[in-house]
Each structure stands twice: as structure tokens, then as C-alpha cells.
Amino acid sequence: MSHAAISLKRMPTSLAARNVSHHFGSVTALDDVSIDVPDGRAVALVGESGSGKTTLLRCFNRLIEPERGEVSIGGKNVRAQPMVLLRRGIGYVQQHGGLLPHWRVLRNVALVPTLREMSDATDAARHALELVGLPAAQFGERFPHELSGGQRQRVALARSIAARPGVVLLDEPFGALDAISRADLQETFDKLRRELSVTTLLVTHDLAEAGRLADEVVVMRLGRVEQRGTMKTLISAPATEYVARLIEKARAGLEALHA
């Protein structure tokens, strides 16, 4: 039954940030940034360290409360509801999974369903594990340290979707993995988010990854949006010198590989 429930279409959950600014001391992290992620779509925030991409991502689950501007999910200001309730409705994966090391895999994955007091929390966790390719029977009773790095990220991914959120926020989720685990997990994720038609905001410094996983890419630099568009648009018509250089670098990397 839970299988059927999870594949149902979600409530419309578009994301929007309007004229958002934020500072850390004297450093400008976000400077009048606006973005939209339409319901069920995936948008990647791309940029170097310090571009403000992670700060922007964290505004959506209120890990950061921006000084100015409005952030909303499904048309509702994120401040409209209590913080913990907001967060329990949003999937989240960070670079170093952040699994609770003293909890077994199944319990880790059941965290958000449990917080939401879902009656079938454990079933939901089992199903989420299936979806990321780690059968609960085999992996559920292991501790995180008994898994490989790639498997741990899969568990983190399972945890983020176990409570069937309408939105997932991914902060460099594949950043710490070796190339093969990374490609595998990217594939799993791509399939998953389309199946669940979950609205996705992905932070990455890897343009190729952004192109592969996202419908649209937002290039950020020094707290501002340089360009937004599909990968194709970015390549064919880079709006700024910076975007052109970024694409050039990514291309050079690929060509070096081919040669």
C-alpha cells in the first residue's frame, strides 16, 4: 500500500526566491538573487566556493534566514509555518551524508517518517531503501560505518525521500565519491526524481553533473546569478565572459579525457 502511495503525484511544490540578500559579517553571500524551480523540475546551482549557491539552498529549509527578500515553497512563505514542520517536509542530502553513526541504516532512513509520526514509518523506510538499490533485508541492520562511501550516500538519499517530500535539496551530494560510485548514484537519483516527480534543487560545482541531472542550470558568482537556462542555452549563448570560461573549462576537461 505504501508502494502505491509513494508513487502518487505530489502536491504542487514550486520553489521561489525573490530578491534575496544575505551577508556573513562583511562578506556578501547573496546579492539580490531571484530564482524559480517549477513544480517537479530539477534546477542546479553551479558555481565556485563562495558563489553563494549553498547559502541560497539553505534559505529554503531555513538553515539560513536571509536578511532581505522572500523565500517560498508552493507559493507559501517558508516562515509561515514552524521551522521543524517545514524541514520535515523537505528532503535534504549533504555532502558527507550526515547519517547518525550510532543508528542502524533502517532507523536512519525512518528518521523523518518517525518525526512526522507516520504510522508506517518503517515500511516507508524499507521502500525508500529499495528505491536506492539497498534492500532493507540486507542493509537495514548495518551501521553506517559498515557501508562503503557510495552506499552511505544512497542511504542519505533514501532518508531524504522516505517521508515522500515534495521537495529535495541536495548540497553536493556526490562530491565526496569516487567517479564510479558517483556515476551510479547520479543515475539512480535521476531515475528516482523523475519517478517521484519531486521538485529538486541541486548544488554542485560540477557543470557536467548539473547538465546531466537538472532541467535548468543557474550559474552563480559572488552572490549573484550570472545566467540561468538549459545547458544547451548556456553552451550556445553564454551570457557572460565568466559563463563562457566555465563551459570552456568543463569542455577542456572532457577533451583531455578523450585524448
Binding site: 538553515l63 520535515r88 549533504q94 550526515g98
Partner: protein, 551 residues
Amino acid sequence: MRVDLRLKACVLALVIGGTSVTSAHAQADAGGKPGNNRPIVVASKPFGESYLLCEMFSQLLEARGFAVERRPGLGATEIAFGALRTNAIDVYPEYTGTGLIAILHDSLSDSLAADPRAVFSRVSRQFAQLYHVRWLPPLGFQNTYAIAVTRKTAAQYRLRTLTDLARESSHLTAGFTADFIGRSDGLVALSRVYGIRPRDVRPLAPAVKYQALASGAVDVIDGYSTDGLLSKYNLITLVDDRHFFPPYEAAALVSAELDRRVPGAVAALTLLSGRLDEQTMRALNRRVEVDGEDVRVVARDELAALGLVGNAQTTVTTGEVSRSGFARYMWDRRAYLAALTVRHLLLVGLALLAAVIVALPLGLALERARHLAEPVIGGLGVLQTIPSIALLAFMIPLLGVGVVPALVALWLYALYPIARGTYTGVRDADPDAVSAAEALGTTPVQRLIWVRLPLAAPVIMAGIRTAAVITVGAATLAAFIGAGGLGEPIVAGLALADTRMILSGALPAAVLALAVDGILGLVERLVAPAHRRRAIWRSSPSDELRVAPAV
């Protein structure tokens, strides 16, 4: 004989462990007397003669139906007098010269300085005025400082007087008690008046100074003229040819409120005035310090001889204890030692529990206000640097003597390791796990209970374990302020120069420390977070070593 030994052990237990057992009796007795809501607290300083006088005062009072609580070996002058001033104790034996110089910081003109009566009238007037504390008429003997050397040293350097000593002092090593080194009527003044400048001055505990002198480790020591050990080691006391030391007449020093609270007690204590001469006192001290006789028996014999208490019922044979082995000695005192161990554990357990109750939440609170963490924990750390005996002494004016100030002092020592462990443990608990849990909608309380505390548990437990071991050690010093525990035989043994008595407290205390460390080490493993537990039970070689003593 076996009965005798056991009796003796019991008697000793009563003498030294007077705090708990006697006070229970005393309180029961005191119930009948109107306005008498507390037994008379009789204390002493930590050396043999003071113990003996304390016991004589106590028996004198008890023979007249007064309830008595004994606090022998309470502490040096500052502690004992501090306790008396604050009415924490009612009476202890003191010396007029000490009162004049060490307490009043006074001196008399040369013509009066050598006159015992002039000194007595000065101190009794001044003490009444300044502290409302009363000197009862002197007991009849003086116990002045005796600067002593061996016969061999005296012959080699031709020493007879302190002036002779000054002449040769640059060749000699002195072993003085901390009291003598620090007091204004001690080494400082001696150097000024005679020009005595020893090659080296070693601070020695009273219990070891005679042995140190006899073995040649030091050449000259400070003793008391009535010390029984002076004659045992056949020592020469050097003549105070410039009359530097004031008269040190022994007398009972009585608190302001005793006479009001317990009418008749002062009159009873005065019965001993003028009854003990120097020769008698030296003989009595010798029985205690050299022959190892029981303080209680010696006191009773003398009071009986003076006709102040009824005749002694049984005379315990002397010398038995010193001939039987240490194991036997411990075995015979097993009930007493077990009671002390229980009391010790109670002191430690209560202090530790109170420290956990305060320091654990404090550590958690500081983790949420990190800018305060270092100042606050650093402040608690400073407490650690205060020597336990000094901290205990600070407690007396605030809280008197007994269990309460000891608990407070132990509690203060235990705060730091627990607060530090909690703060560090919770702060450093897997930051990725904590931030992910936050992002997924856990409340701060859920994060604390589900994530931070379980991950920090071993570090917190290590802090508690450190605190426990520190407290077991520090609690031995609680006996100095009459809180009981395994420090009792240590304090008494130090005062009576009885190594075996010292060991009878020190060994169980050491075993207790190891046992507490070992048991809490196991607890530390039990509270390890689930994912580490299996790995820990397999245990690395270093882990084995660490718990080995407990098993």
C-alpha cells in the same frame, strides 16, 4: 588475647572515628539536658599531645554526664582556631605562645616575654576582647619548641645552644615542619634573632621528622619539648640562650558560646588546670608516640590517677599490636575499616552525584553559549589548582567542620572534569550527523537526546570517571575537617607517627580509587554509542591495560 585485640581495635575505632559513632550516642544523651541541642565538640591539632589532651578533655566531660563529640586532628592552628571562633568546635588545647605570636601577631617586651604569667594574661585579655574566646587556666606544663640534634651531631659540631647552632648552621641541613617554617615565631624569627641559616631547609611532616633525623637525612629538626620521641631517639635539645621562644603554656581554649550553651562544662574542664606537669606530659606522650599505646587508655589512666574519673576497668596490654603482623592488624580492624570505607564511598558518591547534577547541565548549557564556555570552565579549572587542604580550610569559616564543608569541597573538585567532558563531548559530537538531523526537522531537544548525548556519552563518562578518582583521593583529606572516611587513620597516623595506622587508611583508599576507576571504565564502555560497542568489546591492547587493575 584475641578478645583484647578486638577490644583495642574497637576502642581505637571509637577514639579516631569518634565523629560518627560517638556523636550518635552523644546526641541521644544530650536530649535530656535543656538548651543543650548539640554535644560539646572537642577538637585537637594534628599531633600526638594534642590528641591526648583532646581525649582527656572528652573523658573528663563524659565522666560528668556531658555529651561529647570528638574531632581530633582537626588541623593546624589556623584551622583549629578558625573553627573555634565560628563555634564549629567548642574546645581544643592550645599554647599561650602560639596564641600570642601566631594568632595575635603580637610580642611582649623582653622583660615580660620570658614570664609565663605575663603571656597568659596578655592572651587571655586579648582573646576575650577580640574573639570572645576564653583561655582556661593553664594545664601546668609548657611545650615549647625544641630545636633538636642527634648526640653525634652535637658532639661533632660542639652544639649546646642555639647560638652554637647559628655558628655551624651553614654546614647543616634542617628538617622543619611546615608550621614552623611558616609561623612568625618559627624559622623566620629564629634566623633573625640568632642568625641561623641552614644550608638547606626541608619541609617535613611531623610524623617523619624524628625518623629523618635519626637516619641522618637531616641534621636538625624542630620538636616540642614534651615530645616522647625526644627521649626515644636520645636527642639533644639546644638551649634557647637568648630566650627567643615565648612561654608555650598548654591550656584549654574555649568557644564563646560553650558556657552559655552547656552550663558547667567550663567548670568541668577547669578541673584539669594545673594538674599536668612537664614530666608527666612527656611520659604520657611517650606511651602514645613511642609505645604505641591507645590514646583513650592513656588518657583514662592519667585521669584516674589524678582522681578525676573513676578507676580504670581494664588495662589493655601494651606492645601487642606492634608485634603482630600488618595483615593481622588490618584484619583486627576490619569492621572499623569497612565502616570507614562505606563512609568514604558515601562522601564520594554524594559529592559526585551533586557534581553531575550541576556540571552536566552546565556543560550542555555552555555548548549553547560557547563564548562563555572557556571562561566558566576555566574558572572551574582554577579551583582544581587550590590544594585540597587549603580548600577545606576555606570552608571552615563558611560552613564549620564536618561532613557538609567536606562535601562542598569535594563537589567543587568534581565539577571541572564533568563540565569539561560534557561540553567537549557534546560540542564535538559528529558535526555532520548533528547538522543533518537539524536540517531534517529534529528539535534541539531531540538532537540532544538522540544524537549529541549518545555520541558524547563516552567522553562525558570519562569526565565523571576522572572526577570520581580525584574525589576518592581528595576525600582522604576530608578527615582533617572531621568528615570521617579513610582519611581518619591517615590523619591520626600522621599525628601519632604511626606508619601502620597511616597505611591502614591509605591502602584501602588506593584500592578504592583503582576499583572506582575500573568500574567506571566498564560503565564507559557500556555507554559507548551502539556502533562502537562491538568494536570496543573486542578491545585493543591499550584498553586491556587500562582496566587491568580493576579486575
